[in-house]
């Protein structure tokens, strides 16, 4: 067991600057209007640095830098671009603890996860896209003896990316890696709740990326995000967040006639068929852990398995075991490597979760566990902690339909296969789902029948690079994490070439 020292204290592996400017054109750049906002750590509710409060002027400056860098970067060979992405991965790998503690402090999630998941996944993501762009072939067709069509994947140019606060460095990576691999220059706007850890990474990458290829402007959504998304100087916008903002992004994209890819969340069902309980073996234990995955990242995951559908025939025993298993989840200081459940990312997240727990109770959902805010005492007393909470109820209740984005799961029984699929699909969303069954045919058919872009079969919350990720229905448009994503950041050039010396005979 290790407890990492808080950033800036004796023995800490990372120290934040007291103030972070924007990163534009390869250097720290002060905000044009000279304003900053304080950045609070959810671990203790206290501010720990100041961040540049970006405005339209800063977005314009970032776009200028991106436009300056884009042509050369776009023409850089895939060999060289892949080498840069691999260098980024090397830098991340060489600084895992530093980045992990920075991420934990900015977001509140346990360091156990940032060290073992978030940061290594980010490094690997850059390596995946380095490989993917090297392996991407164009194609050609011989139309006839004298004409050949050649197809090239060309970069879009300058793209805008707006990322969420739940996995700050990893979510930046999911967007940045394919865009850079494809040869684009980027203006990135991090979430205002978690603006610092990404700047720690940018500082480490100062000599790795050509200036202007990746520009980062911090600020509030309405002041910096909106000018970026509505700019007619980007050729594409990518966004992960909520549905209303997603619609606005699409509106702005339509005005500029540019493509938008969106990931807007989910209310992912986790299906436990009764054959899971046939034996209390390693697989049963794994399924139990699968249930508790609703508490992973404090529930702040777009694919959180926030609805658990348990077959009636084993409902009581499976659920009572799952409640006991959830009680074992260690909630505490996010810098302690034993901690599994850390702090919610902000005060308003905490308030929102508590308001949903309230409406759950009002609607008659039965509280099987938790339901309260936690005070961890001492230095952590001002932090944003909520107990893992389990509700039982009906799929029509608001706690079953709306994304709470906290460590709250809503449990309901299903009779049989058809009932399971019907309940699973009775949602506006379609991002993730889990299917647990010892029967391969059941697992396969359920996976294909559930209307979600990612169905985990006999596991949950794995995000290896190469496994395509994205939503059905109101969960969004587009796919990340797979070479498919390159297509979102490229456009096809067709060279239609004639090898004939003779006129066609038209005129």
């Amino acid at each position: 067991m290790t407890v990492y020292a808080a950033p800036g204290t004796k023995g800490s592996v990372v120290t934040f600057k007291s103030r972070y400017e924007h990163w534009i054109g390869g250097k720290w750049t002060k905000p044009a209007k000279g304003n900053y906002f304080e950045n609070i750590s959810p671990v203790n509710g206290k501010p720990f640095c100041e961040i540049a409060r970006g405005t339209a002027e800063d977005i314009e400056a970032a776009l200028d830098a991106a436009h300056k860098a884009a042509p050369a970067w776009g023409k850089t060979s895939t060999t060289e671009r892949a080498a840069v992405l691999n260098k980024i991965a090397d830098v991340i790998d060489a600084n895992i603890e530093l980045l992990a503690v920075a991420e934990t402090w900015d977001n509140g999630k346990p360091v156990r996860e940032t060290i073992n998941a978030d940061i290594p996944l980010a490094a690997d993501h850059f390596r995946y896209f380095a490989a993917a762009i090297r392996a991407q072939d164009g194609d050609f067709q011989e139309m006839d003896g004298d004409m050949v069509a050649y197809h090239y994947a060309e970069p879009l140019g300058v793209v805008g990316q707006i990322i969420p606060w739940n996995f700050p460095i990893l979510m930046a990576t999911w967007k940045v890696a394919p865009a850079l691999a494809a040869g684009n220059a980027i203006v990135l706007k991090p979430a205002e709740q978690t603006p610092a850890s990404i700047m720690v990474l940018m500082e480490l990458l100062a000599d790795v990326l050509p200036p202007g290829v990746l520009n980062v402007v911090n600020g509030f959504g309405v002041e910096a995000g909106k000018p970026l998304a509505s700019s007619n100087r980007i050729r594409k916008i990518a966004f992960t967040g909520e549905t209303t903002t997603g619609r606005l992004i699409l509106q702005y994209a339509s005005a500029s006639i540019i493509p938008a890819t969106l990931e807007l969340g989910g209310k992912s069902p986790n299906l436990f068929f009764d054959d899971v309980s046939q034996e209390k073996d390693a697989f049963y234990d794994k399924a139990q852990e699968g249930f508790v995955m609703f508490a992973f990242n404090q529930g702040e995951v777009c694919t959180s398995p926030s609805r658990a559908l348990i077959q009636k025939s084993h409902y009581d025993s499976f659920l009572s075991d799952a409640v006991e298993r959830t009680k074992k989840a260690v909630q505490g200081n996010p810098l302690d490597t034993n901690t599994m459940v850390g702090a919610q990312a902000s005060n308003d997240q905490l308030e929102k979760i508590l308001s949903y727990i309230d409406i759950g109770k009002q609607e008659g959902a039965k509280l099987a566990l938790g339901g309260n805010r936690c005070d961890l005492g001492g230095d952590l007393s001002g932090g944003y902690y909520v107990e893992p909470t389990i509700f039982e109820g009906k799929n029509s209740m608001r706690v079953f339909q709306e994304e709470i984005f906290g460590p709250v799961v809503a449990v309901t029984p299903f009779k049989d296969y058809d009932d399971a699929i019907s309940i699973a699909n009775d949602t506006l969303y379609g991002l993730g789902a889990g299917v647990w069954s010892r029967d391969g045919n059941v697992a396969y058919r359920a996976g294909r029948d559930i209307q979600a872009g990612r169905v985990w079969v006999n596991n949950y919350h794995a995000y290896p690079a190469g496994a395509a990720f994205g939503g059905y229905k109101s969960s969004g448009i587009g796919r990340e994490n797979n070479k498919l994503a390159l297509g979102h950041y490229q456009q096809t050039k067709n060279l239609l070439v004639s090898y004939s010396e003779n006129a066609l005979g038209f005129f």
Binding site: E192, G221, E403
Partner: protein, 137 residues
Amino acid sequence: MPRDARPVIEGETLSRVSMSDPTRELLIKLWGIHGPLMFHQSGGCCDGSAPMCFPLGEFHTGPSDVCLGIFDVSDQEDGSQEIAFWMAREQFEYWSHTHLTVDVVPGRGSGFSVEGPEGLRFIIRSRLMETAEPFAR
């Protein structure tokens, strides 16, 4: 004193949405900065499951949305500062049995909602209505 939105859904006579005093005060301040405003309740992750406040005309509502009610935040309550509260129709089907109150808490998360720079965040508090068609009398 919570202020109620006037009902606008055909057949309804009871207000579906109200707002707390701090909400009204914040909206008057934001109106001063941005002009006329409206709300759209967001679903989804991150800053979702919460109301977004935009300058009127910014967010295009249409046949896929429903207006739950119209607030008048003006001091004189003379209709001079109306703020409509919208939601996606598909979402409303799951919400229609609850009464909503727009409140404010300290926070950072807001997508492009205009209160973000204030260090405050709009939030919904809900109350279950008891009858099948509670808002129509």
